[in-house]
């Protein structure tokens, strides 16, 4: 009774298989030489600057937090879209209210310059 899931299972197995295979080949058959600049992190050929330890500037988090909240809005749209034809005008007005309330939030963010990238 799991027939419906065999394709997904197969996909997962093949994907992980290929990934592991590649790693396995590069470890065991790869030519190894550890000297000079080869060990530096690759920064498109430029000489690498700074270390991986210095903190990421704080202003990136604002985008991340607001992404989560608007991601939830999109997730509500998905089941609504599935039955929007059956709900008709009632469903449309319902989702309109939902989106308008979040639009107020969006205009608030724009106005307050929360996403300003000075």
């Amino acid at each position: 009774m799991f027939e419906t899931f065999y394709p997904i299972l197969f996909l997962v197995i093949v994907a992980t298989g290929i990934a592991l295979l590649l790693i396995f080949f590069s470890i065991f058959f790869g030519y190894r030489s550890k000297q000079g600049r080869k060990g530096n992190p690759y920064e498109c050929g430029l000489t690498p600057v700074g270390t991986t330890k210095d903190p990421v500037p704080v202003k990136f988090y604002m985008v991340a937090i607001l992404f989560i909240l608007f991601d939830i809005e999109v997730v509500f749209l998905y089941p609504w879209a599935v039955i929007s034809r059956k709900l008709g005008v009632f469903g449309f007005v319902e989702m309109l209210a939902f989106v308008i309330i979040l639009l107020v939030g969006y205009f608030y963010i724009l106005g307050r310059g929360a996403l300003k990238w000075d």
């Binding site: 009774m1 799991f2 027939e3 419906t4 899931f5 330890k53 210095d54 903190p55 990421v56 500037p57 704080v58 202003k59 990136f60 988090y61 604002m62 991340a64 937090i65 607001l66 992404f67 989560i68 909240l69 991601d71 939830i72 809005e73 997730v75 509500f76 998905y78 089941p79 609504w80 599935v82 039955i83 059956k86 709900l87 469903g91 319902e94 209210a97 939902f98 309330i101 979040l102 107020v104 939030g105 608030y108 963010i109 307050r112 929360a114």
Partner: protein
Amino acid sequence: MSLDTLIFVISVIVAVFSATMMIVQRNPIASVLYLIVSLVAQAVLYVQLGALFLGSILIIVYAGAILVLFLFIIMLLNLRGNEDLGEKSPLVSQATKFIVSILFVLELVFVVRSGYVAESIATGVADTGSTGFGSVEDVALLLFTRYLYPFELTSILLLAAIVGAVVMARRENRDIQQSMFVEQTPSETFKKGQG
């Protein structure tokens, strides 16, 4: 030992093991990754219980977005788990907390065992997709008619969260000349690193 029970046992072991590992970890990045693994295992349990749509939502939205936000914030705050966390709280208080929680769990497990649970699910669980249980259609139908009011309430909750997140996390220079409350301005090292 049918396939169904096998999958159940495997995902339970993975879920419980990674949940405990999450707590024990010193490095918060490893904790987040263990929590993601635990959630994926729970999603398998959701699917086994017939909640196909919710299982996928759990992985896409929850493990995919929210826990990635946790990871992002941990990277942002540059936590390596090596901060000095002050002295460990006394062993006695930790032990009592542990025992209290174990008793609490045993109490609830006893409640479940004695409770009467309709065994109707003895029939195959996964193939219920066809009988209209757990598919997107049914959840959506219910969500947008009977749960109309809670649905609109969630948009207000999201608005409150947006305003809250902007207020708390936005950098305001007006704050710098602050009130008498300020006992300590942000330490020098942090200012330099603010970028």
